[in-house]
Symmetry: C2
Subunit: 804 residues, 2 copies
């Protein structure tokens, strides 16, 4: 275990004193304090939860400075210097590490180094070095991953030390907003934002319900920034059947599918040049505002509630409490998403209820907004950013879609998110159309909605899988030039739900526009990562938001690495390369560069659907069996393995498989997997608990369990690195169908999902060529044969420098 | 899905009105109200979270009374009667059910019946029947399992409807305490209770840290009852290695092991006849009391915090913050457990800190205490009950140990709790000895503790496994005659950690004493069951505590079934037999009554340890393989199966296997499993999520996910019903070693764990005879052969009436 801090910097000694005074760790008249008096004052401050002298004494006696002496007696006789050894023995105990099981009192510095914790490298501390050591200690991760000052805050430090007038207002330390707000004083409200949309065709502007949880500031002059999460699942979901996937691969018409106009998105809108009437009575009676209950919050937002950032949740058009219908990924959905921001920024009006009589303004809001969330939630944050809406100062987007075609389609094929075979835009639309739950409300729009849904089923075109107008409208990257705010993206390199090319392509596009884009890639699947102690994620986002939303000069742009990538070999190794694409290219010939190239088969038959159904395997179990060359599926694949590597390789960016291939029929699809072969205790892609309820996000706030990826207890022999799928009829691009002649050779490039993978020495790099992917593509029960000209087939890799 | 309500009863019409007035649902002058005015008032009260007339209107319009009409227009023209059909259509929507997916507006009564919800059986409601319908509706489970009034309370009903003077004080409705207290107003304190113990031999009374979370009452004259959980894990645990289990089965000395006195428990105590000095200054300055953080609460207690019951947590002697050492299961541990109750009842003093200078009394407490908790936590509640301590009015004990011998030993053998092979009293002692975490504190007692731990390792005697003085002291049932308070026990029939005979034997003993003992048996393992909507568990406990702690006359004793047992065939079938032991006995001969009796093998060899280690299987996977007659272990077992049953059988109480057996050596152990053989989608023993964060325990309180046991998606062919283990040297009892002669025949009774199992028609009842149980017994790598005289071997069953 190692702690990584990317959001910490040590200021000048003078600045350290000023900041320590600001958080009341140091007295205003610190210059009058003798060394011993100051030292005792500091350690008293480390126990805000113990409020008598005797209780403090007990706590000090519990801490050993060495095998013989406890901190109480040490402080009683401190003199004019603090020994480094004594200080860090105590520091490690204060941070939650136990001796002797986790560190030895004989050598605390060895443990500090091993854990990656900062320390002052002097044998004895005088006032200046003690100040530096205390400043650092407060900003050092505890065993539970939160900094010591964050843990002190959760234990009531700011409640005890700040005057009533100083409490419940923003305060910054080391460039981060402090947890000065208590969970006991939250205000919860529901408002109805008026949009310019009329997606349910009732002749009235769609009202959009927004739920607000906000810290109660010390007075009404304090305006707070807002973290806004657009969450289509927020008001519940409906059970919706999946589309059928056991269907034939279609022979598609030729031509550019984008030119086939669809009819789905013809919604009336109201005048947007004058987006909202003047505010008539923004100071509505707040006691008549509804109070939300059963709020499914986002933990990152909860964390920031304590730090003076309001949480705002809205589910958008067609969800329970709002008007309109769902339109999954459409421009109308985006407009409904940013309407909330426009209200927060004062550019749009909202009402206290759906009578549209009493207006209510976000008078508590500073007008500075960031969007947060994972998956569909993070996707809508990207959607909002691509409008350039005023008030949206940044986006923290996790596992987000940047083009819906890259979620439900690939290279001219219907390709499902993992474990959601048959899901499509229509399914997700209906799942989130939670207005259905209010029977009286639903009755008003039922017929119109069903008509629209039928149109959507048609327009999404599962038949051909081509990139058409419907999908083009749902490609947020088309509007990349409108993006004004910097973006932070978090994505799992093992996320086969929202696949990594969504963030990769977004990154390429934003770089081209010169927009700041910070990319964090982890070794998980489709998850949040805020509770991983190996990375100071909360602090990074805190530093970022303090800068972007509160205007604090903390050098966030420079300090936050452009790429922060977790190694697949060591969960606490977070690397900071300058790009994702690597430093050099390498091409491997399928005919020459693989172990078994000489006598390799050159064709396979794609008749595995029946065997898959007979096996009873889940999609995931099939994938594992397929990668491990299970004999039931062996004839449906060609497997190539490189010779065992002598040294570690780092595979970066998007691997490309260039193939010369023919199909035995007038249609076909090609899939490829890149695989790491070799026995190893690999990190499990699901995080495991480190400690239940190990930390508290603020004073009287929620508890959080810490987690980490750990090496699998059992050896595994293979792991998927990347995969990709392509319709032979779309060998040039996703929008243009081209005929396939049986047994005619075609050469094509199949771009796999991007990766960042350390292939250890002693392993083999594998490529599996196949067609039907039971968990992702449609399952066409066929007997097509695919043949390859291996002499004219290549694996093209990007490689990075291994830093180990 | 079916809802079961055991804590609900319908009072007289007059009483209904009084209660509805008490909770402000009905006005004081209800007699002056016309039918339509009253009706509209009632439905307004169902939306406490919507606080304007317009918002209310929206909500009423969202509800349909039939396909054509919504509730708003219906109420506008209500006249003088409410149609049943309309009422229950609205009721189902209010309870959270959706139409048309979950019920049809054409026949709401069919759904009410199917879900097991109460309804008024009249076609039209006048004032009296409407009152009854409203009273019932408020007490009817919502989809999320909480009653409608509980959900209203979480949405602010009481906050809105009670005056400041009425809030934050206990209020009862239908015999249950209402959620009138808000999560925003909790007081958190740490105190140090002075015990009569000196388990760490430092010459001072052991101080015991207690953590209090209590609702803030409206004024200081309101005294609250307390739910106290003694939780040895509360202050953390230490990693402790397990004992070695791959050891030889010992040939033990003859004689009564109870007579071998041990030395572990010789702790000095202070004068207990005068347990505590007079209170000198009980009104200590509360601002100097420490505030606890990172509190690992028990959800049942959290639920009751909103209902006016304080939560008290204490970890006991030897835990972090307290004095003393751990002594797992000893009388000293029990004394330290009840010291907290004595303080709460005013019979013992506590201090604000460890200086022992400032006393603090539980002046907020009514002196009425119940203990709660699961596993070790529930065990200490049983321990406390067996002292008869004043102030302990009842115990809600889940998955509790009633004798530590029944946890770590069985019939003269070392037998582990499942998945904890090698654990023993010494391991658990050290795990919970969290004083080790405070290095300065630990240094004071380290040598003494290590000496005591070594003594404990000796006295627990893993060598023989006999019931000796050490275990006799840890058998709480020895003091059953001291129990004064009624007890509620909850236990999983699939709990192989704390095995069901712990609650079975406790039940037998309490019945013999005439002490009320309510037993709830579920189909899970070692879990809490408060979040299972099929049972009104919270309400049952609420009714019970309102009666036992608050003195409310709600007929709890009569209403609460003596046995409440979940069927293994249907998770929402909760049965209420009059006993656990069944109504008749049946004996099956191993020679005649099993399918394959005629040509059955009569011996097996117990050499499976090597194969087990080679298999790499976990303990649990081994058990599954063993039951399914995996060929790797087939020679280590004899399997008997009855003919396929024509009708369902209910197996109750403790099955007994009477065996005539000989061992090839001068030692041996016998194990037996009772197994259900037959293909079926059985309920999974792990509960599955129904809905994430589906309900809120009180106003601004924690959210809770609902769960249920669901039928396994895959068919399984066998399931363990019960098992048991016995040392041949203890064929008569657990304390007296008797020699075993090689190849000498012995007849013995092996009592299996108690069960309550519906064996479906078409299944076979199986018995597996074997010796070493890889997951539970020691693993003696031997080649002993066991032979049976099947003519003189019987399976003795208790059978109950199948009510299906």
């Amino acid at each position: 275990m190692k702690y990584n801090q990317f959001a910490y910097s040590l200021p000048t000694p003078q600045q350290q004193i000023l900041e320590l005074q600001r958080i009341k760790m140091y007295p205003v008249d610190v210059a009058q304090y003798s060394f011993d008096k100051l030292t005792r004052r500091i350690f008293r401050q480390f126990f805000p939860d113990y409020r008598s002298q005797a209780a403090l004494e007990t706590q000090l006696r519990n801490l050993l400075v060495d095998e013989q002496q406890n901190l109480f007696t040490y402080l009683a006789n401190i003199g004019d210097r603090f020994e480094q050894h004594a200080f860090y023995n105590v520091a490690l105990q204060l941070l939650g590490f136990y001796t002797p099981s986790e560190f030895s009192l004989d050598d605390p510095i060895a443990t500090m180094k091993q854990l990656g914790l900062p320390f002052v490298d002097k044998l004895y501390f005088n006032t200046e070095s003690l100040t530096s050591a205390v400043y650092q200690l407060l900003n050092t991760p505890s065993k539970n991953g939160l900094t010591f000052i964050d843990n002190l805050a959760a234990r009531g430090y700011y409640t005890i030390n700040l005057s009533a007038n100083e409490q419940q207002r923003p305060l910054f330390f080391n460039g981060k907003a402090q947890a000065t707000f208590s969970a006991d004083q939250l205000i919860r409200e529901v408002v109805y934002v008026e949009s310019d949309l009329d997606t349910d065709h009732d002749g009235q502007r769609d009202l959009l319900e927004a739920t607000i949880i906000r810290p109660k500031p010390a007075n009404d002059f304090i305006k707070l920034p807002a973290l806004y999460t657009a969450n289509p699942y927020f008001k519940g979901t409906t059970d919706t059947p999946m589309n059928e996937v056991n269907v034939k691969l279609a022979v598609k018409p030729t031509g550019d599918a984008r030119e086939n106009q669809d009819n789905f998105d013809d919604f009336p809108t109201f005048d947007t040049t004058n987006p909202s009437a003047a505010l008539t009575n923004p100071f509505a009676n707040h006691s008549s505002v509804a109070e939300p209950s059963l709020i499914g919050t986002v933990t990152l937002n909860d964390y920031f509630l304590h730090r003076g950032f309001a949480s705002v949740y809205a589910a958008g058009i067609g969800t329970r409490g709002s008007d309109g219908i769902r339109t999954c990924g459409s421009p109308e959905e985006t407009a409904s998403t940013i309407a909330i921001i426009e209200w927060l920024h004062g550019d749009r009006r909202a009402f206290t209820d759906r009578s549209r009589l009493d207006e209510i303004a976000a008078i508590w809001c500073s007008g500075h907004v960031a969007m947060t969330g994972k998956s569909y939630l993070g996707t809508l944050a990207i959607a909002a950013a691509t409008t350039g809406v005023t008030g949206l100062d940044t986006v923290i987007s996790e596992a987000a879609i940047s083009s819906w075609y890259d979620y439900y389609r690939e290279h001219g094929l219907v390709v499902a998110p993992q474990t959601f075979q048959g899901e499509d835009a229509d399914v997700l639309t209906n799942e989130c159309f939670s207005r259905q739950k209010d029977a009286g409300d639903y009755a008003k729009v039922k017929l119109f909605y069903q008509e629209k849904l039928a149109q959507m089923k048609h327009d999404q075109d599962r038949e051909t899988g081509s990139y058409n107008h419907f999908w083009d409208e749902r490609n947020y990257r088309n509007n990349i030039d409108l993006v004004k705010c910097p973006i932070v993206s978090v994505h799992g390199l093992n996320d086969w739900n929202v696949k990594p090319k969504n963030v990769y392509k977004l990154n390429e596009a934003l770089k081209a526009q010169g927009i700041a884009h910070k990319v964090i890639l982890h070794q998980g699947q489709h998850i949040y990562i805020n509770n991983f102690p190996s990375l100071d994620f909360y602090d990074l986002i805190n530093m970022w938001l303090a800068n972007k939303l509160c205007g604090l000069e903390n050098h966030a742009d420079a300090i936050f690495p452009d790429y922060l990538i977790q190694s697949n070999l060591d969960e606490s190794d977070w690397q900071t390369p300058t790009n994702w694409t690597g430093t050099k290219q390498k091409e491997l010939s399928f005919a020459k560069d693989f172990d078994n190239s000489a006598n390799h088969k050159t064709e396979f038959i794609d008749d595995g659907v029946k065997a898959f159904h007979e096996s009873g395997l889940s999609d995931l179990a099939w994938e594992e069996a397929f990668i491990n060359q299970d004999e039931r599926f062996a004839k449906n694949q060609l497997v190539f393995k490189t010779p065992t590597a002598n040294e570690e390789r780092l595979i970066t960016g998007r691997p490309v498989v260039q193939l010369t291939v023919k199909s035995s029929a007038n249609r076909g699809l090609i899939s490829a997997m890149l695989v790491d072969y070799g026995e190893a205790h690999r990190l499990t892609v699901r995080p495991q608990n480190l400690e239940l309820q190990a930390r508290q996000l603020g004073y009287h706030g929620p508890l959080e369990t810490t987690m980490a990826f750990k090496p699998d207890t059992k050896m595994t022999s293979a792991k998927l690195i990347a995969k990709g799928h392509l319709n032979l009829q779309n060998r040039n691009n996703a929008y243009e169908g081209q005929p396939v002649e049986p047994n005619q050779e075609y050469t094509l490039d199949l771009n796999l999902q991007p990766t960042y993978y350390h292939l250890p020495a002693g392993h083999q790099l594998g490529v599996i060529l196949y067609a039907t992917d039971m968990g992702m593509t449609i399952r066409d029960q066929n007997e097509l044969t695919y043949s390859f000209d291996l002499e004219n087939s290549l694996l093209k890799l990007n490689l990075g420098k291994t830093e180990r």
